[in-house]
Chain length 205, copies 4
Amino acid sequence: MVTKEENIILHAEKLFADKGYDATSTREIAKAAEINISMIAYYFGSKEKLLEAIFEFRMNQGIEYTTSILGKTDLNAWEKLILILNRYIERVKNLKDFYLILQREQINLKNIAIVEFIKNSKRKFLETYKIILDEGYNDGLFKHQPKVEFIHSTISGTLFSAMNSVSFYKDFLKGTDDFEQEYYENLQIHLSNILKHLLGYEEKP
Amino acid sequence: MVTKEENIILHAEKLFADKGYDATSTREIAKAAEINISMIAYYFGSKEKLLEAIFEFRMNQGIEYTTSILGKTDLNAWEKLILILNRYIERVKNLKDFYLILQREQINLKNIAIVEFIKNSKRKFLETYKIILDEGYNDGLFKHQPKVEFIHSTISGTLFSAMNSVSFYKDFLKGTDDFEQEYYENLQIHLSNILKHLLGYEEKP
Amino acid sequence: MVTKEENIILHAEKLFADKGYDATSTREIAKAAEINISMIAYYFGSKEKLLEAIFEFRMNQGIEYTTSILGKTDLNAWEKLILILNRYIERVKNLKDFYLILQREQINLKNIAIVEFIKNSKRKFLETYKIILDEGYNDGLFKHQPKVEFIHSTISGTLFSAMNSVSFYKDFLKGTDDFEQEYYENLQIHLSNILKHLLGYEEKP
Amino acid sequence: MVTKEENIILHAEKLFADKGYDATSTREIAKAAEINISMIAYYFGSKEKLLEAIFEFRMNQGIEYTTSILGKTDLNAWEKLILILNRYIERVKNLKDFYLILQREQINLKNIAIVEFIKNSKRKFLETYKIILDEGYNDGLFKHQPKVEFIHSTISGTLFSAMNSVSFYKDFLKGTDDFEQEYYENLQIHLSNILKHLLGYEEKP
DNA sequence: CATGAATGAGAATTCATTCAT
DNA sequence: AATGAATGAATTCTCATTCAT
């Protein structure tokens, strides 16, 4: 069951991802969502607030999950890190539209509320990484103590860069139908490999 | 000496970077460049063609350099790679405005000419990496043969992600005035460290 | 009662007739119709579609009438022809503005929809003439079987040419106030006289 | 040998005929004529004056010929009339571009100089017809004395209407390659036939 | 709750013409 | 005599938002 607001949000998300925020008109969104133009103002207040609503809709889940991992006492630091990484890759894969919008807003920095959302998410990531990295280091699991900001930039940057380039790489590497599936699997291996090295973690035999 | 076209290009680049292409009006560009609005059409044909002109202006130098490195017979594979990496970091640091625009266009994929520019640049990077990685592997300098597409995604992604987050990290990490300088130095170390590991390269003692 | 759309159509028709389509700006139309400029786009989509709307508004009636004459079994072929001729003269006299526009579009052939309107109207005329001429010939009423295309060109051409020249002729012939009234009466006589001859019709004594 | 002015005139005539005066830009004319934009202002003063120059270029010949016919004492009134008719048809056939422009200006009546050109041409036609018709009537060659204004409207109107419809009729009547040639021949017969009747002229056996 | 007509500002672009060279 | 860069006004159209119903 999808509420009327959610319906608008989902269609707006698709259009914002495809065409960009500025290039998408409220008319188009109304048409796509099969609602009247003025419903956007009615439900969300303005086009900008609608964008904020999309962020609210998508961001909360993400952060909750990350936090919940921390509490799992049955996992060691490396396992927690990998869980977060996998979850992140999964999310980006599943919410491509949203993460396209997010990437743009991360550059634009025009809407204060959204900038705050993004900052908050980054903060959460950095804090979580910090906790896990410290825990692993204290447990003797990790040998190094790399800078969390670069850890995050590499994970996040590689992931987005890879995501944006899938179709280019498929073309360039003459990939077949199952290219994307394998691509994301290799990406996970690539990233965990980098992490392993940066943290100085060695898998037990 | 700056020609009238260059003057327009430079002001447009600044505005496009600050506000985004769609949100920047030709009026604003004309005002900033202190020219008549119709000169944009006169010199470039349209707002879109002006964007393409910016890419033409900035992209060519970049690619030339990358290619020129390959010919240097006095450098081994690792040295070449580091040269390219450093140069890339340097360019992104110096041409922040342009690389902000590029990042957006990399996601938008709306202007065919620009998509082609970007693809071309990616192709050049991948081919260059391939050549250097093969050379290093054959010379016994590198022990691994990682996937070139992920190498690029990690370098490029980390770099852009880091660049976009400088001010956030400065805030978050309570950095002082010399934060940025040190930040980019550490970023270079971080990236070459990752490369070292991915390629299985070991510096001679 | 005039709807808002009709109001715009009527003012646009007047202005297009006076100044030509290209030379009439939407601003002027909006001013004349006392509406906001954007209402033209709102109601009709574009300036061009507004022109099409004018044609739709005026053309349909015309064709209906012509067709309805054919069914009148109480009239012979000559009487039908004269009815159509009189009606045509009457329409052109009453809808001068529209027929000025039509004449220009007949030459321009730029708007596909309008070209189709005009072709359709011509087709209808030719077919109608054909039916009536055949009927009259088979009934022995008409002695000749002239080419319908030239019949139409002469009726239509003479009519438009005469209409466009009224004020010139009034001047040239030093006509008085009732010139136009008499002019159109004579024009009707002139055209039916030509038809009589071309068809070989002789009025019964 | 074509002078630079003539070269511009000819290209402008073509473009004005194809697209209409308003819809043709001086840039296009300059491009087509392979001259600099400012040459139009240079040679003619303005775009409007260029249009007038086209009329001056084309109209004079036409009127001269018509007048010259009148002096031919070896021809009777009917022969003179037919000569003028044939010449008119020939001119319209050969100068289609110009006569398209003329038809539009005949409706527009915006440029005073051109309106004067057209009026002058009409006056000349009417006067010439008047002289010939009187001559033929006085010689007992013509039995009727029709109104000269309707004679002109029918000749001119039929001719233009026919000219504008050639391609439509060719389509409608499923004409072959030689359609146009035959069409204009039949048009001449059609018009002289009408004239014969209107004047009450009977060819000698 | 919901509509859709109406608004007015602002968008990019095109235009004929001018003017210094 | 000829150029072409430069101008500024005018063009159509699209936009987000408002408001009476």
